[in-house]
């Protein structure tokens, strides 16, 4: 029973450096922009092709 963590024990965690935080934030923004472009692209293609967007001649 003693080897179980007590209520007061806080879990081990990784603390990122400023540089790592900055790079992670930049990567997150890049992913958000890519997803936004993808959504806009699908919307634009649907507008151009109409409801039969997946139909190909």
């Amino acid at each position: 029973m003693d080897d179980k963590p007590g209520l007061d024990d806080k879990p081990e965690r990784i603390v990122l450096t400023e540089d790592q935080l900055r790079k992670r934030r930049a990567r997150s923004i890049a992913i958000a922009i890519a997803l936004g472009v993808f959504v806009a692209l699908v919307y634009a293609v649907v507008m151009v092709k109409g409801p039969g967007v997946l139909n190909q001649p």
Binding site: E12, R13, I14, L16, Q20, I29, A30, V45, M47, V48
Partner: protein
């Protein structure tokens, strides 16, 4: 609480930071994985294939096709860097790439490349055209499985056969516009295919030590510089009529024909100069001049085709 900061670059073994590697990659590193310079050439040749094809392509559909082709090319670049990280690490030209320099983990590059590869093919298939998507999928497969994993480390003919991967984009662009393949995109394919050996070997003549150290059987390493110069001349001579073929077969105007013959003539002249010069610093300068001119050659020919195709209609 145990704080594990990254003040020391090497976290203690067994710690969370060691088990769960914290990514050090910047957005620029991920862009570098996509080989943006190669990607720009792919996009340009695909754009020409798209715009010289008969019929009209809606700008949104054309943009979607080019974006998918660009992302597919980037995915191939990332997967190539993932597999070739061992070679890149020992070559001066590539040692600072994101994986050998440790900024991107191999697994991250693999996941990035696979995600983009599958995503680009699926989106191209669903939003543009199935044939174009099938060609893009085959191009990525050919570049990674056939060229990178097999040919590159197995034969000095690696870039001759592997050059097909770089020759497909104009065909993909054409297929995206028409949903089919004709003689014209095949001519564009052949143009890039026969352009690749003299272009790449001109560069590799000045990177022989690098390739030898990495145990990559490039032609100058296996057969020597003299044989490489002979083959450069051979492929440059082949390229001359192939470059002019769109005009000779009536698919392009006389301006293109004159440009192709003049630029092809310069390629042959430089290749001949390189052949007779032999070894030495002057030969090294000529080979780099040939390498630089080969890029201009391809750009000018495709640019003239683009202008002619847009304004006059490719194939009459």
């Amino acid at each position: 609480m145990t704080d594990i900061s990254a003040v020391d670059d090497r976290p203690p073994s067994g710690s969370l930071a060691a088990i769960h590697r914290v990514s050090e990659a910047s957005v620029a590193d991920y862009l570098a994985l996509m080989k943006p310079r190669v990607m720009s050439l792919v996009v340009f040749t695909a754009l020409v294939g798209l715009l010289v094809a008969p019929g009209h392509v809606h700008p949104v559909i054309g943009f979607t096709a080019l974006l998918c082709i660009a992302v597919g090319a980037g995915a191939a670049g990332a997967l190539n860097m993932w597999f070739d990280a061992d070679i890149d690490a020992v070559m001066a030209r590539t040692a600072r790439r994101p994986i050998p320099s440790g900024r991107v983990a191999p697994g991250e590059a693999l996941a990035f490349g696979m995600t983009l590869a599958i995503g680009s093919v699926v989106v191209l298939a669903l939003l543009v055209d199935w044939l174009a998507a099938a060609l893009l999928a085959f191009t990525i497969f050919f570049y990674i499985a056939v060229y990178t994993m097999w040919l590159k480390r197995a034969t000095p003919q690696n870039i001759v056969i592997g050059g097909a991967a770089g020759a497909f984009p104009p065909m993909i662009g054409w297929a995206a516009a028409t949903g089919s393949i004709g003689i014209e995109p095949v001519l564009l394919f052949l143009l890039v295919f026969f352009w690749t050996p003299p272009h790449f070997w001109a560069l590799s003549l000045n990177r022989t030590q690098d390739y030898a150290r990495a145990r990559v059987p490039m032609l100058p390493v296996v057969a020597g510089a003299e044989e490489t110069r002979r083959q450069i001349l051979f492929y440059s001579l082949l390229l001359l009529p192939i470059g002019a073929a769109p005009w000779l077969m009536g698919y392009a105007d006389a301006i293109y024909g004159a440009t192709a013959l003049a630029a092809g003539g310069v390629m042959v002249a430089l290749a001949w100069q390189l052949k007779v010069e032999g070894a030495g610093p002057r030969a090294a300068r000529i080979s780099m001049r040939l390498f630089g001119f080969s890029i201009l050659y391809l750009f000018v020919l495709f640019a003239v085709l683009l202008v002619e195709g847009v304004w006059a209609g490719f194939g009459g």
